[in-house]
């Protein structure tokens, strides 16, 4: 292993310490504040779209690691937040592309973290949403959450998901119609 020792005997880490790491966009306090503002909605998005709270936790961490590791960074919190959702969406897409992953039908209800302490009405709404989302395709869940939970415009959704802005409208219309139909069938009304 003479070759290896030749390569690694040079004391480079000290030389590297000073330069590139200092280029991070945020210090730990700024990141903590940003995380506090963005992690919960991002985690909810990942959990609702993936259907698994455990997977959502893993993807949440990976999303922030990639966000902090990225060199090209968009300015402003709104853009950074959108960028965060884009990373998360890409991770979800990569997850779905993997040949072996757990089918949505195999995910137990308990994995979604339904709390027993909530009110009955909230439980019903939440359970209905979970059940309704399970009947949709991952892409439809993604679009519905981004449009109606995060209130992103069609253009922003297109930037996050990588879909064409023109097709977002139709896909979203279909997904919303399916979800509304499911909710109505199960006794939900939105006017109250």
């Amino acid at each position: 292993m003479r070759f290896r020792s030749l390569v690694w005997e040079i004391p480079l880490p000290q030389a590297v310490d000073a330069a590139p790491v200092a280029e991070s966009l945020m210090d730990d306090q700024a990141f903590a504040a940003f995380y506090e503002r963005t992690a919960r909605p991002l985690c909810a998005y990942l959990a609702r779209v993936s259907g698994s709270a455990t997977l959502a936790d893993d993807l949440l961490q990976e999303t922030y690691l990639r966000f902090l590791g990225a060199t090209l960074r968009e300015e402003g919190e709104v853009s950074q937040r959108r960028y965060l959702f884009r990373i998360a969406s890409n991770l979800l897409r990569d997850h779905w592309r993997k040949p072996v992953h757990k089918a949505l039908e195999d995910v137990p209800e308990s994995a979604l973290g339904v709390s027993e302490e909530r009110g009955v009405e909230r439980m019903e709404s939440r359970t209905l949403l979970t059940a309704g989302l399970q009947r949709l395709r991952p892409r439809e869940r993604q679009l519905l959450w981004l449009a109606y939970a995060e209130c992103y415009s069609h253009k922003e959704i297109a930037a996050i998901t990588g879909l064409g802005a023109a097709s977002i409208r139709l896909l979203l219309f279909r997904a919303r119609r399916k979800m509304a139909s499911f909710l109505r069938k199960n006794g939900m009304e939105g006017l109250a």
Partner: protein
């Protein structure tokens, strides 16, 4: 499928997003929503999603400190890899040049001085025609031994390279 968008959609979306529906809406808008299929569907779906989002806002989070430090470690590792790559290449090139220079000077020295008989035999053997003839005349046992030796040397070199890359 006909795609229609209601003119009051933006107004309604803002009310739902800010949790001001239905109390913050005027009577006219409420009457409109009752009559408009598009808007009533929007209210139904968005109410459920907004409620889920509000519930998610109360979830407990892990501390971000560990995550931030992990990201810094990853950045540092990446920076070290980037910085050491050209140096590693330069080292390999330098090593090859030194070996070649040593071999050349040794060759010159042996040519200028009395070369031992075994080295002369080796030099003759390195001639392509002589090498082919030697291989043709060699016994199978010698050929197998030579092939095994070369394989072991190549494998050792590859392992050495991959170990250096992994570390």
């Amino acid at each position: 499928m006909k795609l229609r968008s209601c003119c009051r959609k933006a107004e309604l979306t803002a009310l739902l997003r800010d949790s001001r529906w239905p109390l913050g809406a005027d009577l006219e808008l409420r009457a409109h929503v009752s009559a408009c299929g598009h808007c009533s569907e929007l209210v139904l779906v968005m109410t459920v999603f907004q409620q889920a989002r509000r519930e998610a806002a109360q979830a407990e989070l892990d501390a971000p400190g560990t995550l931030w430090w992990r990201a810094q470690l990853l950045r540092r590792r990446k920076a070290i890899e980037t910085a050491t790559r050209p140096i590693m290449v330069a080292e390999i090139v330098g090593l090859v040049v030194v070996m070649a220079a040593l071999a050349l000077s040794g060759w010159r020295w042996f040519e200028a001085n009395a070369t031992p008989a075994w080295m002369l035999a080796m030099r003759d053997l390195l001639h392509p025609a002589a090498l082919v003839a030697a291989i043709a005349n060699a016994s199978p046992l010698v050929l197998v031994t030579a092939a095994l030796t070369i394989s072991v040397l190549v494998a050792a070199f590859v392992l050495c390279l991959s170990a250096a890359r992994d570390s």
